[in-house]
């Protein structure tokens, strides 16, 4: 009798559970019309209100080009792994974000993850081609074929640090007056001593910045990818010599200063596992790193984190292959509708209505547009997707904090920024793909280990040895060969 009861109970649970799950999946299967369905994978903060915005978007798209779009936003930490697994499994998708720093363009494109776009651009992407400086396209080419669409936004790169204004004022700290790292550290020390529950700093787990001010620091242009910065060319080196960055003094000094900050308690002890965006939103920091400084960045910080900040650069702005191609969109090799995908992207590139709909939401619902063209976001119904993922950022309405001529300023900045000696060069890793895979892995491990090490020199020596065993010299030779051939053109 007892077993009968248990069995009945189990069956009931099953039915309840089964229906609950089944109903969750049902909403997907409701549209048997002739609209072409497209999927677009993006990186960012998943948006709760995305579905209602997409209703508007799809209304518009159905009319204009007969397309139904699904945008899937993966979290900052998840994106790389999610895209890797999709590539490995040959899953079909239409559009995805790719760059040197997320879903690494060079490695994924050279392994055949995306469709060549030259023809598609000619036929369906006319607006895209016309808006973008033709020289920049070099950065998106693998073996002579364009493999991704470069998004139009700030083309130069400058990394920086944002100091939260109220702490800067309180401790009389002027970022423009930093002459050596110690000046910054002193500020952190004051914050640490006197402010309870405030963490001095977040950042600098990537890049090589031995001198934390823009006058002194020389940037290294990376060749393989932003995270795989173990080989590079110095910005001021016109001989274009590829160097093992780990062996340089700059690298050592950078590791030293980060290590120092860790030990002194200026950085949270597990900062390498934390995500910038969430940390700055979720906790109280007095300073944090800015991966890309551009005109209007302080305004963006105000909107994003609700903080007044003073931002200073860690080096002079420059343009490089990496900076130009730091936001791109590719079409998946297994996409079933590449033509429609290109059409859609062309529309996003050229149509301000669609663009702002995707980035800011529905006017009147998620934001209101002032007569001066400024966007005011609705605090109760907040929605936003990263503006740089949608083609042409110059389409965007102005955000509070940005000056009215922000886009002109941006273009002007790009023109005056230094150009990297290897701007336009794209590395082909296939002759040394095994070495690259191994070195990438070792680099990821050791770069962070060097921050926590008690004996930095020992760790760095081990690091160098491991890299040597993995074949870094072979990679350097191959890269130099390719660069020399490219430069000789």
């Amino acid at each position: 009798m007892r077993t009968k009861k248990t069995v009945i109970m189990l069956i009931l649970i099953l039915i309840v559970a089964g229906t609950a799950i089944a109903s969750g999946k049902q909403e997907a299967e409701e549209q048997p019309q002739e609209l072409v369905k497209l999927t677009w994978h993006q990186i960012g903060n998943p948006q709760e209100l995305l579905p209602e915005v997409m209703v508007e978007v799809n209304k518009y798209l159905a009319e204009k080009i007969g397309v139904e779009l699904e945008i899937i936003v993966h979290g900052w930490g998840d994106y790389n792994t999610k895209m890797q697994t999709m590539h490995a499994a040959g899953e079909s998708f239409d559009l995805c974000f790719t760059s040197g720093w997320a879903n690494p363009f060079i490695t994924t494109a050279s392994k055949g993850a995306y469709m060549p776009l030259d023809d598609l651009l000619e036929e369906y992407g006319k607006d895209i081609k016309s808006k973008l400086n033709p020289d920049y396209w070099e950065a998106a080419k693998i073996n002579g074929q364009i493999m991704a669409i470069i998004n139009l936004q700030i083309m130069s790169n400058q990394r920086g640090i944002a100091i939260v204004k109220k702490y800067a004022d309180k401790y009389d700290f002027d970022p423009q007056k930093i002459t050596e790292n110690k000046d910054l550290f002193d500020f952190f020390e004051k914050v640490k001593e006197n402010e309870d529950g405030v963490i001095p700093f977040f950042g600098l787990d990537e890049g090589i910045y031995p001198d934390l001010n823009s006058e002194k620091s020389i940037y290294w242009d990376v060749i393989i990818g932003e995270d795989d910065d173990y080989i590079g060319v110095r910005m001021d080196d016109n001989t274009k010599t590829v160097i093992n960055t780990i062996a340089t003094d700059d690298y050592r000094r950078n590791a030293e200063s980060v290590s120092y900050m860790l030990k002194a308690g200026y950085l949270p002890s597990d900062f390498v596992t934390l995500k910038l965006d969430e940390e700055v939103k979720g906790k109280e920091y007095s300073a944090f790193v800015m991966t890309r400084i551009k005109p209007g960045v302080e305004g963006e910080n105000k909107v994003r984190y609700n903080k007044d900040t003073i931002v200073f650069g860690l080096h002079k702005p420059f343009t490089s292959t990496g900076s130009v191609s730091s936001t791109m969109t590719a079409i998946g090799i297994n996409s079933k509708n590449p033509e429609k995908a290109m059409e859609l992207y062309n529309l996003v590139y050229s149509d301000p209505y669609l663009y702002n709909l995707l980035v800011f939401g529905v006017e009147g619902v998620h934001y209101s547009l002032g007569s001066d063209g400024y966007v005011e976001q609705n605090a109760d119904k907040s929605y936003s997707l990263p503006a740089w993922q949608f083609g042409n950022q110059f389409n965007a309405y102005l955000m509070p904090g940005q000056e009215p001529d922000v886009w002109e300023q941006t273009i002007a900045l790009d023109k005056t920024a230094d150009a990297s000696p290897i701007l336009g060069f794209v590395f082909d890793p296939s002759p040394v793909r095994n070495e690259v895979a191994a070195c990438n892995a070792i680099n990821t491990e050791y770069r962070t280990t060097s921050f926590y090490s008690d004996n930095l020199d020992e760790t760095l020596n081990e690091f160098k040895k491991s890299m040597a065993n993995a074949g870094i010299d072979k990679i350097i030779a191959e890269a130099q060969k390719q660069i020399d051939a490219w430069a000789g053109k």
Binding site: K111, G112, I333, R433, A437
Partner: protein, 307 residues
Amino acid sequence: MSFLATKRKDSLIDRRGLWLLAIPALVITILMQYMPLPGLIIAFKNYNYGLGMWKSTWSGFSNFKYLFSTDIAARITFNTISWNLIFIVLTHTVAISVALLLNEVSRKAVKFYQTIYFFPFFLSWVIAAYLGLALFNGDKGILNSILNTLGREGIIWYAKPEVWKGILPIAHLWKQFGYVAVIYYTALIGLNPQLYEAAMLEGANRWQMAYRISVPQLKQLVVILVMMDIGRIFRSDFGLFYQFTRNSSMLYPVTDVIDTYVYRALLTLGDPGMAAAAGLYQSLVALVLVLVTNKIVTKVDSESRVF
């Protein structure tokens, strides 16, 4: 003679009842275990996402050559084997000791202890990882709090590989010993009481009896269990090395084993060819080991063979 011994036609029709019973399991096994086998060719190819498994170009043995030429193969192999050896020695020693101790107390007490010793076994490694986080968190963990009150500096646990040489065995033991102890304990209570009578009359105390009588009686069981563990020495408990360590890359020199490397190479580093090569290497060696140890086990106790 019984019907089971008579010659019955073994055709499908005659045996349809048994075939019916067997089909589901066979289908599932073929589907899940045999059909993926052709995928092993990935280990010999330059895997291209667009071309897929069949059309990608052959690379011969270069994946394997490369795997063994760098430090990678050496490190993951060394870690896999040495950890398993340490675990085997520790687990069985502790489990036997605990079983001996349990043998001395009342059945009620045994039930009580066993229930608690089983808790770690019931928990998944993901949950265990939370327990670890509570202890090892760099800024707030309990261990660091204790260190601080003792006036010492806290340690950033998830960044220091050396300390995990101690943490890993303890964690593995914590999770497994209850389970293994049960096996030994059951064996102990199954022993013939007469074995002890003679010793008792001679005034032996419990420690001597445990050492001189119980342990030797367990010898055969120990050999079988240890042999079986050695047969699995090339495989690792993924949960321990991935979840419990929170996949902290700084610990890889100590915690990276073959299984974690294959997983990473496939899903994070984007190198299916190398991952497949490492996986094949593991499967082949594991095969040899299992066959060898199985042979040894059969010699010891012929009932225990699987094949």
